[in-house]
């Protein structure tokens, strides 16, 4: 576990405030807790430019209740995979694109935009992967998006009715 310990040490030397937020998950895996956007924008450039994590393995988003989470899997020369994360409130889901550093992330970020509803600054326009005519503000990878409410032939999504008490029709 020397390589993994070295990664944790490099991160903590530069960002002591992350003490307790970076841990070794197993051999070749180091995991970081979610950061807010401001902190992420300091940590991510350092990791990719100065800490040897110069390869982006993949990136993906998650729907975490009131938040949208983003995980970036970075790899260094020792093949240690570091999961770096940021999360933004669902009400203001703004993040900055990493395409400037990793141009191959274009399709993955477009997917985050169309499937999860993230607003990504500096990302070229593009509708990947949903078809033309897809209903606006309808994001299939969100937990409240239900397949049974989507009509494939008309490309319409039937929102659940909400009663006066704010409860949805199925009682949730």
């Amino acid at each position: 576990m020397d390589q993994e310990k070295a990664v944790v040490q490099i991160i903590l030397e530069r960002f002591p405030v992350l003490e307790g937020h970076v841990r070794i998950q197993r051999e070749k895996r180091v995991v970081m807790d979610y950061l807010v956007r401001r902190d992420f924008e300091k940590v991510f450039p350092y990791l990719t430019a100065s800490a040897g994590f110069d390869r982006l393995l993949t990136l993906f988003g998650t729907d975490d209740g009131d938040w949208l989470g983003l995980t970036y899997a970075l790899v260094n020369q020792d093949e240690v995979v570091l999961l770096v994360r940021q999360r933004v409130p669902k009400a203001r889901p703004f993040i900055r694109s990493v395409c400037g550093r990793f141009p191959q992330a274009l399709w993955q970020e477009q997917e985050l935009r169309t499937l999860l509803g993230l607003k990504i600054e500096d990302l070229p326009e593009g509708g990947y992967p949903l078809p033309d005519g897809w209903p606006e503000e309808s994001y299939p990878l969100r937990k409240d998006w239900e397949v049974r409410r989507f009509n494939k032939s008309t490309l319409t999504y039937n929102q659940p009715r909400t009663s006066f008490g704010g409860q949805k029709e199925d009682g949730r």
Partner: protein, 402 residues
């Protein structure tokens, strides 16, 4: 210079053909490429969130046409990591054997495609015939030629008895002999070598910068192979050496594919010889504990990444699948730029790009005049172009000698 825009637009409804390609031509060279991916997105990740883990395994085996073992194994490994299960050694060896058989048949298909695109139809047929021998073995193991469904969470569902092990050994002897013969043709036949050399050049630095994976990266000298970088399962006991080549063009990638087939055959032979006795499967709970796992496996086309997050429920909370083809999209875009239009069919095969059914090309001149060109026509154009090119080169050489 007049520029033309060309759209190569497949619309097959399976996962193999979810990309299309727009190229802007300047004379007979590609000036710009745009890949508006997503023509037939399958929504697999969402689908897996609403099905049980066992149902997901069936869905994921159908993610792509050629890599069911890689997808199923990656998903099972992620589940096993979450559940903290140790897979029996016999099951790990069987997984390795099936994975390498899968690599063998995929690479034979790739090589057959390359032969077809450069105009060697007979060689294409021979290679497809060789592949049949591997598919027969896979069918005998799993009961199906394409979706052999060998994996289960915790191990495998099929054993390799004495009869099947002998069948695999005999097949490897025959296919190994044929690979040697075909490989020497690809390496030494001058017309083939000349056609492949210099096509789709990708430097080692560019491959690294663009995040290329699999034989595409290794054909540029970039030693990137999960079996060696982060060995898993029985590969931990095998010491895999990545097969690389420094040519960085279609020829280099061909050499890598041939070398990998020979290496796969050697791995299977060793795994058969060392196959341990024991159980096929460890018990996996129906509901996985809360947690997350990121798994990497080396699929035939390159690195395949699975991320699985469980909230303790009956279905995954989140599943992310990142395939080598997606990883190589950007590299493909860069490889095609600046190349000849006539090279596109070869480069598409090089990248393992499947156009499949309903492929067509629409040539747009000045945004008004339109002409439709089929994929077959583009392939014929490619072959004619290089025949003319070679005939011209031959004439020039003869004149020089005179």
């Amino acid at each position: 210079m007049t520029q033309r825009q060309l759209s190569l637009k497949p619309s097959a409804p399976d996962g193999e053909n979810k990309n299309c390609l727009w190229v802007t031509m300047a004379s007979d060279r590609v000036a710009e490429v745009h890949l508006p991916a997503g023509g037939s997105h399958q929504g697999v990740e969402k689908s897996c969130e609403i099905h049980s883990y066992m149902q997901d395994l069936l869905i994921l085996e159908r993610y792509g046409g050629l890599g069911p073992q890689a997808h199923a194994m990656a998903f099972c490994q992620a589940m096993e990591e979450l559940a903290g299960i140790v897979v029996p050694q016999r099951a790990e060896y069987i997984r390795l054997i099936v994975s390498e058989l899968e690599r063998l048949q995929c690479h034979l298909l790739w090589l057959a495609g390359t032969a077809r695109e450069v105009g060697y139809d007979a060689l294409n047929m021979y290679l497809m015939n060789d592949r049949e021998l591997v598919l027969d073995c896979l069918a005998e193991i799993g009961g199906n030629r394409v979706k052999y469904s060998v994996n289960l969470p915790g191990g495998v569902r099929r054993d390799l008895d004495e009869h099947i092990r002998t069948r695999i050994s005999e097949m490897l002897d025959e296919v190994g002999r044929r690979i040697k013969k075909r490989g020497s043709l690809f390496r030494k036949e001058l017309m083939l070598v000349n056609r492949l050399r210099g096509a789709g050049v990708l430097s080692r630095d560019d491959a690294a910068a663009y995040g290329a994976v699999g034989p595409l990266a290794r054909g540029s000298g970039l030693s990137r192979d999960v079996r060696a970088d982060e060995p898993y399962g029985a590969y931990r006991r095998m010491e895999v050496a990545p097969v690389c080549d420094d040519h960085g063009d279609a020829y280099g990638r061909t050499v890598v594919h041939i070398g990998e087939m020979e290496a796969s055959a050697a791995l299977i032979r060793r795994a058969l010889a060392e196959l341990p006795e024991g159980e096929l499967r460890a018990e996996v709970p129906e509901r996985l504990p809360k947690g997350e796992a990121l798994v990497r496996v080396e699929a035939p086309r390159g690195e395949l990444v699975y991320y699985l997050r469980s909230d303790g429920g009956a279905s995954p909370e989140r599943l992310r699948v990142f395939t080598p083809r997606e990883a190589n999209l950007y590299t493909l875009q860069k490889i095609i730029s600046g190349n000849y239009l006539a090279n596109i069919p070869l480069l598409m095969t090089d990248y393992d790009f499947c156009f499949g059914a309903a492929s067509r090309a629409v040539v747009i001149k000045g945004g008004e005049e339109q002409r439709t060109v089929g994929w077959e026509q583009l392939r014929d154009f490619s072959r004619d172009y290089y025949l003319r090119h070679e005939a011209g080169a031959g004439r020039a050489g003869a004149e020089k000698e005179e």
